[in-house]
Symmetry: C2
Subunit: 614 residues, 2 copies
């Protein structure tokens, strides 16, 4: 069933203006910063299993996962940029983790120390299987980077033990994780080890979820339907058609479902993935690629409910959506998935981390001003760390993988999904400054016969393609132009993607955006910041019909394109809360910058959706 796979991390080297600096900063800043935080907070220390009953409890029970994601990031960084010092440090942590494994294979810093008696006792709330999943992903990355099997073997023992505990047999627990993640991790472990038992275990977790009698209801008899929905366990996954509940858990589950569907050629399960995909993309997706409309339960809500100020759109959920999109793209080769993967990558995923690599949003708002208020406190500036620090540590392992989202590899086929400048080990060089501009050159540096696929993004209405200077009239199918030929060293494709400023409108049922427009250019969604426009953004109206100007964005990395244009500014004559005096309008200008880069020049008001003049 699966048509494509992603390249290895080491096989893609980028030098584009967006991804490449983010990867560099991740390696130089984000990972070291998160390592420091893990030390400062005692997260590494906890693997010494020196906490006992009676000591204060850890602030939460998924520290293991934070460490695992940092380790995974170190391994990916190492794969990308070999470095003896980094490797030595990584090995030290790996050995520490391995040392915490119990004789039966179990490995968890909370439930082997202070809360021993709670092992597997509360799958709904405790994150044991989630932590196990992240450790497995880390072990696979460590194996890929170093070739050493110590961590991989450790995690295989853990997976074997888990396989002996869960399932339908006698003395087995017929449960599944409250926070999904292990499903996709087991598929990675199966691929790395060649042990198909781990695919089987992943399939068990996927298929058992939400079956009747409901395991979570057996654990917690008073759970409401809403609680089960938050964990995607209100019905069997094959029957789920709406993307519901906790957004991160949802897309991690859907990614695992796609992996299982691919492995078992399971068309029914793939159809469920497709239904859930449609639910997200047609009804529950922010224009930035963010998902999860409410902080309450960090969850999806209802169709078309996409508030800009009380949005949650957790960074981890955007990252998870990229994972899900990547898998659906690999399964089908359909450019629809690449479009959403790209939209999420360049906007809602990168918005969660500062350009300096050391500050993070947990929630990615689309509108911030003095009266932005969610139902609880939400940061309006990026923070160095959180008590629940899943997002910073997720960036440690997400950013070094960015290059892998640019290419797909198939049978005698290579596809360029995102034309970010750089090289693929298979002998192809991409140049240009995409996504800042749409002129892309692709040079073939090795001779070979294969299909070369070139994505024409869904947002692109006009493009020109030349092969060695001559117009190439091949038409895209499902978002890709495919050229099947014997490539000569020195062959060159020149692709020009037209990138006008595109005013976007939301569906009429998205009431928060009625009468509003968002500006996009290429794959980038733009936002207005008060840093550029003054603290009057809610008072601005932008005429959609105008010649927008492209300028250098002030105070942002060279090459960043800002959009400027004409606007109207409403002014209010008095300070009354309500009045019969209509606001008056005066002409002004506005400047918009790429959404992902907002709040990199200090605290600022911001809005993506601006009122449109009509």
């Amino acid at each position: 069933m699966k048509k494509y796979h992603s390249p290895r991390v080491a096989d893609v080297k980028l030098n584009d203006p967006v991804f490449a600096p983010r990867i560099d900063t991740a390696i130089r800043k984000t990972i070291p910063a998160c390592i420091r935080k893990c030390h400062e907070t005692g997260r590494f220390e906890a693997f010494k299993l020196n906490r006992y009953e009676g000591m204060p409890k850890l602030p939460h029970f998924f520290w293991d996962s934070d460490v695992a994601k940092v380790i995974e990031g170190m391994a990916l960084a190492l794969e990308l940029r070999p470095c003896a010092e980094l490797e030595a440090e990584l090995e030290k942590y790996v050995e520490l983790i391995i040392s915490a494994q119990q004789p039966d294979g179990y490995l968890n810093i909370v439930f082997t120390t202070q809360q021993k008696d709670q092992r597997w006792k509360n799958l709904f709330d405790h994150h044991e299987l989630y932590c196990a999943g992240h450790l497995m992903e880390a072990a696979v990355a460590h194996f890929n980077a170093t070739g050493r099997r110590n961590f991989l073997d450790c995690m295989s023992r853990y997976a074997d033990y888990i396989a002996s505990v869960f399932g339908h047999g006698k003395n087995r627990i017929p449960g599944y994780p409250g926070h999904e993640e292990i499903e996709l991790a087991l598929c990675k472990l199966a691929q790395a080890t060649g042990n198909r038992a781990y695919f089987e275990l992943a399939a068990y977790f996927v298929n058992e979820r939400g079956q009747d009698p409901n395991y979570f209801r057996q654990e917690h008899p008073r759970l409401a339907e809403q609680d089960l929905k938050n964990r995607q366990a209100h019905k069997p996954v094959r029957e789920q058609t709406d993307a519901d509940g906790h957004a991160v858990r949802a897309v991690y589950l859907y990614s695992g479902m796609a992996d299982v569907a691919a492995e078992f050629n399971d068309a029914e399960l793939f159809k469920a993935c497709e239904n859930l995909w449609q639910s997200i993309v047609n009804h529950r997706l922010y224009v930035t690629g963010g998902i999860g409309s409410t902080q309450a339960g960090e969850a999806f809500t209802v169709d078309y409910h996409l508030p800009n100020d009380s949005v949650y759109a957790e960074s981890c959920a955007a990252i998870g959506l990229v994972f899900f999109a990547r898998r659906m793209l690999n399964l089908t080769g359909d450019g629809r998935y690449a479009d959403v993967m790209e939209q999420t990558l360049y906007n809602g995923a990168l918005s969660g981390i500062s350009l300096d690599g050391e500050h993070f949003f947990y929630a990615n708002l689309l509108e911030v001003n003095d009266n932005t208020f969610s139902h609880g406190y939400i940061d309006k500036t990026r923070q160095e760390w959180f008590n629940c620090s899943c997002c910073p540590t997720n960036y440690c392992r997400f950013l070094p993988q960015l290059g892998t989202f640019a290419w797909s590899l198939g049978e005698h086929e290579i596809r360029l999904d995102i034309p970010a400048a750089g090289t693929l080990a298979n002998g192809i060089e991409v140049s240009g400054d995409y996504p800042c501009n749409g002129n892309i050159r692709i040079r073939f540096t090795e001779h070979g016969t294969f299909k070369f696929g070139l994505r024409i993004p869904g947002w692109c209405e006009h493009y020109e393609l030349k092969l060695n200077g001559a117009p190439c009239l091949a038409k895209p199918s499902a978002g890709y132009i495919t050229l099947d030929r014997e490539w000569q060293t020195g062959d060159e494709l020149a692709l020009e993607l037209s990138m006008p400023v595109r005013p976007l409108y939301a569906h009429g049922k998205v009431t928060s955006n009625n009468g509003r427009l968002a500006l996009a250019r290429g794959p980038l969604v733009y936002a207005l910041e008060s840093v550029d426009n003054g603290r009057i953004i809610p008072q601005l109206l932008i005429p959609a019909e105008q010649e927008f100007t492209l300028t250098e964005a002030p105070g942002l990395p060279p090459g960043t394109v800002a959009i400027s244009g004409r606007a109207l500014k409403e002014e209010f004559g008095n300070e009354s809360l309500y009045s019969t005096a209509a606001p008056t309008c005066s002409e002004c200008t506005f400047t918009a910058i790429p959404y992902a880069l907002w709040q990199n020049r200090g605290a600022s008001d911001m809005a993506v959706w601006i009122r449109a003049c009509r």
Copy 2:
């Protein structure tokens, strides 16, 4: 300090088109329905104190207050419409309540039975003093209606006991209620009994609140600042300038503060009331008179944060704001307070109950459609009852008092605050169909020399006043025209308040209303329902500059005035969540009805703030 007092309930008889039918329905329907529910749920039964340790706990610990409010409503109804049957039933419940009083004076159905050991142990969460306050209010109403002292004496004993328990002396509890209410109730009890000790106790509760060391922090060491703020206990009340926390608790407290300020001529405390009033009115008040912008903590949020769909605006909070406004009006005679009292009465307070008197909103949304979503479930149709049923029972005692908000009595002075048709016992008759129209006639049926004050509402830009047919040129001061003369039997004032349709605009910082207008006429705020307009309300735009038409509102009580006019309807060409295709517009018409009457013709989408054409 106090300039005016309200008339007795029995002294105002109304026959206007809005209040009078609501009072009638309250007596015929609401009170009997709530009595039934109190029986069905066991609320009356519980006063037999036959629940013991080991039985299932009551669903919440303020059932006493529900019963108290129903009893208070029965007493007010009796005062308004003497009825032997009602009186007999009332007396039965009163005796039942009295029978539950403990030898030391304590009276509470939860903390004398199942949770005996918890008496006064958790003032922050348990509602003992709140329940006591409502029982005291009921006792005063019962005394006023029947002249019998049995309940009043019972509650005096309870108040004496409370006075012996709380305060700064040895073995006293230096605490105060987690849910305010007893402060204003003690002032009523003091007035009814003439016992000033109850004023002193009210003053103690007001003044002790939020003092350092914080009593609630002593009870619950881990309380956050936000938790204290939710209870208005984050600082002493005299230092509070923002209306913060749980909205119902806030306005009950402020009402008690105003009572204490009046009794003790306490200018500093009055200033605090005024500051908190300003905070509400200038920054935190819905155009409907609703307060409390979020369901989380049922609370105020931040200045200018007034979302229409995720609003809470609890019915009880609107009722409490009327109480606070009434007290500030009595203290000062300033029409500013009457304006907000009237705004809240006719809109956000009456919206909480159906015309049939048996269905209730807990939260009063200003926008409802398929994708309205708060952080938890909020009813979009009125319900018969709630698990926490404070709002229905509050209407039992609020509606019979409506007439008392129409008049103020001062020294040799009578003031008409709201010109609802009816009679004041002091020999004044008002006719007309206010608030449906602005023609008001006031006839004096007795001879007498006194000042007569006539409010010119803040919303009114043009009016004409005639005395016995001759133009009266007296100008209003602080919202009232005062005529000081010897009134003859048959004297007649004719007041014509001009009532054009007024498009209202919100302050520019209220981002949820940028680019929107609300329609008002006289004191009534209007809303569009899908019942009249189709399910396209978010797609409508209304030009502010147009000749609006007044029509009979279809399916609503005769005399109800609807507003019709021209509108534009946006149409979307495709089903994509986001698209570059701008919506197109076509012309249509709209019909708006008074906000308070929405959802009386079945489930419906609704919006108060509609996009304005410019």
